[in-house]
């Protein structure tokens, strides 16, 4: 199947926030009122009810100029997703589009994904059931997987009026991004494509005007080493160990019985000959 990804050219963005509104609208997410952030930015970062947030960054570019940088931020949909790795309930999986989705019925609200996401885009939401009991579920951008299934593009992409957001075939999008970086090297010497390989590449790639860190993004994001040791080594080895000791005591129980029966038999015979 052709691999489709979301393309975000931050230099074409005019900060209109239509992507945020379209996301709330399509995904039926409630308003998430915030205090004044000290800038035009509405929310500090993505949250359980706000799956994408427009960042507004005032950046001094080193030549004494101020750059006003925008970035549409949301889940990256990693090819090698830490959240999927650490989820103890297999509630997080890759869809056939490569998007990373959370099965709300399986989610137990443990928050392992929240703590292990290299981009910190997952949040827990607290709900109250009809008995008044609280429960939690993990929430994040789904890349509108429900729309993809209907042959539609993600809501944020459809609504973007500047062409900053596009959804298309992977190689075409990467080519486009590389071309775009070349075009703006004069204006933005630090411009680059952000498609981090530490997580196997992402299903949302960026054309960034500045270094990733300027946008608060990790320069070399990867699945945490701790998550690899935990899930690929500690957990399977732990299960093997309890299996091994259980087998040892079962073995001991069996040999004890056999040996004591033999002893008893010998004693009996001994007595018979007396």
């Amino acid at each position: 199947m052709t691999k489709y990804i979301k393309y975000v050219d931050v230099t074409k963005c005019d900060g209109c926030r239509a992507c945020m509104v379209a996301c709330k609208n399509w995904n039926d997410l409630p308003a998430d009122p915030q205090d004044f952030q000290g800038s035009v930015q509405s929310h500090p970062k993505v949250s359980a009810d706000t799956w994408n947030v427009m960042q507004y960054i005032e950046h001094e570019n080193g030549k004494g100029d101020l750059e006003y940088l925008f970035r549409h931020s949301a889940c990256f949909h990693c090819t090698d997703a830490a959240c999927e790795k650490v989820c103890p309930e297999n509630a997080i999986s890759y869809s056939k589009y490569g998007t990373v989705v959370i099965d709300q019925d399986k989610c137990v609200g443990c928050g392992y994904c929240v703590q292990n996401c290299p981009f910190e885009v997952i949040s827990l939401k607290e709900y109250v059931d009809k008995n008044g009991d609280k429960y939690r579920k993990s929430q994040k951008c789904t890349m509108c997987t429900d729309r993809l299934e209907e042959g539609l593009q993600p809501a944020c992409v459809t609504t973007c009026h500047t062409g900053s957001l596009e959804f298309g075939e992977e190689s075409a999008m990467i080519k486009k991004a590389e071309q775009r970086v070349k075009e703006m090297k004069d204006r933005f010497p630090n411009a680059q494509v952000y498609n981090p390989q530490g997580v196997g590449g992402t299903h949302t790639i960026y054309v960034l005007a500045e270094k990733p860190s300027v946008y608060g993004l990790p320069e070399n994001p990867k699945v945490p080493t701790s998550a690899v040791i935990w899930k690929d080594y500690a957990q399977p080895i732990g299960k093997m160990m309890i299996g091994a000791t259980t087998m040892a005591v079962v073995g001991a129980f069996v040999t004890n019985n056999i040996i004591s029966k033999r002893k008893a038999l010998k004693e009996d015979r001994g007595e018979d000959h007396e």
Partner: protein, 234 residues
């Protein structure tokens, strides 16, 4: 009637403080294991409804987590002498401790073996103690970071998950052997009633912890089993 020559006199092995600390430790450990088991393996997901859903399991796990932290304090407060003897034994290793293990393997599988003279704790119990202490430290400290991630740097929380997993993974594997030896294994079974009542048969203590037993005889606390009055006529 293999015990016919063994006098039924009992001696005190464990203080009330130890008995309580050990029981609370054991109960809390298994409660913690069971309340987290569906997170460890999907095979036990059916435990969620039993435990009141993921939220119920989480609450119980936190309650027992607090209880799990108390046995050390109980032991320390109510039997300070016993606690420090335990600590001292854990760091004392001699040739007899190594000899113990070769005999222990024979004993475990039911072959003929001879008792190697041991002090209050035998080498196997010491290994068990050391592993459980290390595991408890790992589990408790990493548990804090998992319970209160907002107070810790992200990397510490992430490593906390690994250490928690290592701690209980190793802990339960050893506990399977620990429980088997006391509850099922015929030679060490008096140890089980001993850890519940605090008292064990004198002959058993003399066989299994000879050095300790003889010390207590010298101090005049325990009866000397070589004394003819404890040898039954038969």
């Amino acid at each position: 009637m293999s015990n016919q020559n063994k006098p039924d006199v009992q001696v005190r092995r464990f203080s009330k403080g130890f008995v309580w600390a050990h029981a609370i430790n054991g109960i809390a450990f298994f409660a913690l294991y069971i309340t987290a088991l569906p997170m460890y393996t999907e095979f036990f997901d059916w435990l969620y409804p039993v435990l009141g859903g993921p939220e119920g399991a989480r609450l119980l796990h936190r309650i027992f987590a607090v209880i799990f932290c108390t046995p050390t304090l109980i032991y320390l407060i109510f039997d300070r002498k016993g606690f420090f003897r335990w600590m001292k034994e854990l760091v004392t290793w001699k040739k007899r401790d190594l000899q113990f293990f070769t005999e222990f393997v024979k004993e475990l599988f039911g072959f003929n073996f001879k008792h190697v003279r041991q002090t209050f704790f035998n080498a196997g119990e010491k290994i068990n103690s050391i592993i459980q202490i290390l595991c408890a430290i790992l589990i408790i400290f990493s548990g804090f970071t998992m319970w209160f991630p907002q107070f810790f740097p992200r990397a510490i929380v992430q490593w906390g998950y690994v250490l928690h997993n290592v701690g209980f993974g190793l802990g339960i594997a050893v506990i399977v052997g620990h429980v088997y030896l006391s509850v099922v294994h015929k030679n060490s079974r008096p140890g089980y009633s001993g850890v519940v009542t605090g008292k064990v048969p004198a002959w058993w203590a003399n066989d299994h912890y000879t050095e300790w037993y003889e010390e207590e005889v010298k101090k005049g606390n325990f009866p000397d089993l070589n004394d003819p009055k404890y040898k039954k006529e038969a």
